[in-house]
Symmetry: C2
């Protein structure tokens, strides 16, 4: 089942994880939360402070990030702390960079072919 799934998306990436991950990054508030968490753990209240958003709406963003595996949260002495899961961010980066690399390889090959044609003239 897992094998079939890996084959189906041709790249070893989990389609649902990519979908949730990129969806999570498609929102400015969520991107700002990730940016903040690169500096270290923070409570939900601290993360919410810079935003003019009601706490229930902000919590929705936190839940989307958590469901995407980009952050984990943990209750500590009555405060919910959030931390970045940077390896999941790295997975999304690798998906993009793989295709960037494929594209550059193709351009290099085209360059080689054009270069050889130039030599023959």
């Amino acid at each position: 089942m897992v094998l079939l799934r890996l084959r189906a998306n041709h790249s070893g990436f989990d389609a649902e994880r990519l979908e949730r991950g990129f969806q999570a990054l498609a929102d400015g508030t969520r991107r700002a939360v990730i940016a903040r968490l690169t500096k270290g753990e923070a409570s939900v209240a601290d993360l919410a402070a810079p935003f003019d958003i009601a706490l229930p709406s902000f919590l929705q963003h936190v839940r989307v990030l958590e469901a995407a595996g980009l952050i984990t949260t943990e209750k500590q002495v009555g405060v919910r702390m959030c931390r970045l899961e940077a390896q999941r961010l790295g997975e999304l980066e690798r998906w993009i960079s793989g295709y960037q690399a494929a594209w550059r390889t193709r351009l290099d090959r085209l360059g080689d072919i054009l270069g050889r044609k130039g030599d023959m003239q």
Copy 2:
């Protein structure tokens, strides 16, 4: 105006472009189209062929990718050709890798501090 916008998202990235870009990548059909286009230009009909989707629905995906700037399309002799705009893909990669780098720097610093504490014992 541009300066204010750059300051507002703290990183020189255009928020709307990030939003459209990541949103575009949050769908498996659209990711497959990007994967295919890394191998070279293709017509909309060729891109649609592997998918069991009605053409109007497939065209919606093409339009989302185009609005995100990830592909451009051009009518050539009655056929709409699509090409990848790899630099826009690169922009999304750089957004992620910037925060990945910030995170690693922080971990390295923590490692240094813990290392020094260890030396003092």
